[in-house]
């Protein structure tokens, strides 16, 4: 393969990753890493470096549209970033002490559980604790967005912010430990614990993942894991993909989005279990 052909191939794959990532609140690492390593024979360390660039480009590119369209909830994002950033520091801190093998297995099991839980949908009217509701009010998390698919303004009131924060902390630990984007954990946490509409969960996750990734990106850059020749077509392709995807999100039905997300959860879960069990 010539370098020119390589750039075009990586650009096309990244376009797909950016589109899917912007719709589902993920950074696109799910696509970028296997495509670079398995299809194009790139070293895993450089592939991870490129995927962190993919996360940041998806996040900022898509969030630019989602914040304007009120799909991403700024307050929910800022509050939960307290959890993700402190979790990421903890994760990086304990990374050397734990064997990643069992973490991959654990992570795979958690994702499989999330997939089942998200597919079953929510139990109706779970009682939230009073002090949790007070906190949600105090943080002014309630908001509304205009849903293109339904053609109506949708109002929503996030529940259980403390549970959401704890789950985000754990998601942050996982990102810090395993060096993967944690959109696959952020979306279920917002969906299951805080009961946000799925579109708001994926859009808000998109808004948040860039911050988590930026912290790791600095480390990867210093270690020389960011190869400009691989990262350049990734950044360009992903950004165009993210702009495209962010125009679509409003028009997709919540049901389609939920099913698509569950499929990705299952794929990542299997990837993680294989990685862990093979050692």
């Amino acid at each position: 393969m010539t370098p020119l052909l390589f750039v075009l191939a990586v650009g096309a794959i990244s376009f797909a990753a950016g589109t899917l990532g912007s719709l589902l609140g993920l950074g696109g690492g799910v696509i970028v890493v296997p495509a670079l390593t398995l299809l194009l024979g790139i070293d895993i360390r450089l592939a991870i470096g490129a995927s962190i660039i993919s996360v940041i480009a998806t996040s900022s590119g898509a969030a630019a549209a989602y914040v304007r369209d009120r799909l991403a909830n700024l307050r929910v994002a800022m509050f939960l970033e307290l959890g993700t950033t402190s979790g990421a520091i903890t994760g990086a801190w304990v990374a050397g002490m734990l064997h990643p093998r069992w973490l991959f297995v654990l992570f795979g099991v958690i994702l499989a559980y999330s997939a089942v839980a998200m597919l079953r949908g929510r139990r109706v009217a779970r009682e939230a604790h009073h002090h949790e509701q007070r906190l949600a009010k105090r943080l002014a998390l309630a908001a509304s967005y205009y849903d293109d698919a339904r053609g109506a303004e949708v109002e929503y009131e996030p529940t259980r912010p403390m549970l959401g924060l704890v789950l985000m902390y754990l998601a942050g630990v996982v990102s810090g430990l395993l060096g993967i984007g944690s959109g696959v954990l952020k979306v279920p946490a917002m969906d299951l614990a805080m009961e946000l509409p799925i579109k708001v969960s994926t859009a808000t996750s998109n808004f948040m993942i860039g911050v988590t990734a930026a912290a790791s990106a600095a480390l990867f850059f210093a270690r020389g894991q960011i190869d400009p020749f691989i990262a350049a077509p990734v950044a360009i392709g992903v950004l165009i993909g993210a702009f495209t995807g962010s125009k679509l999100l409003g028009r997709l039905s919540n049901r389609t989005l939920r099913v698509a997300f569950v499929i990705v959860l299952i794929v990542v879960s299997v990837q993680m279990l294989i990685k862990g069990l093979r050692g």
Binding site: D43, S60, I226, P228, A232
Partner: protein, 130 residues
């Protein structure tokens, strides 16, 4: 109900993100084009890719190296400048949010956002040390 106008705070943050990604990716694209102009053999060579994607490659990965290469007009250096700008965009967004929440006189969120920025700074420092 009709679609509402975006709030100014949302618009401001959205504009910052858009400007950040478009500027950085434009620089990346220029750098990539420049790389091909300086190395025409990359269009046809079947061996060059191995060197370009070698994990022990010669691409710049210190701030000084990136700066020197970019000032020399080397494509790889310019790509790296664009990528660093891309990495800085979400961090700039957090910093900028502090100003937005202060203008909105939202004390709780000013505090939350400052803590997030400090946590981010901590992880950068730990990353540089580790």
């Amino acid at each position: 109900m009709k679609e509402q106008e975006p709030r100014w705070a949302d618009l401001a943050i959205s504009t910052l993100l858009r400007a950040g990604v478009i500027t950085s990716v434009t620089i990346v694209l220029l750098g990539l084009v420049l790389t091909f102009i300086h190395h025409p053999r990359y269009v046809t060579s079947h061996t060059a890719l191995r060197e370009l994607t070698d994990p022990k490659g010669h691409y710049p990965h210190g701030l000084e190296a990136v700066r020197d290469q970019a000032l020399d007009g080397r494509g790889e250096g310019l790509v790296m400048v664009g990528l660093l700008l891309l990495i800085a965009t979400p961090v700039a967004r957090v910093a900028f949010s502090i100003a937005v929440f202060s203008i909105e006189k939202d004390g709780t969120y000013v505090v939350i956002t400052i803590i997030v920025l400090l946590l981010l700074a901590t992880s950068f420092v730990l990353g540089a040390a580790g």
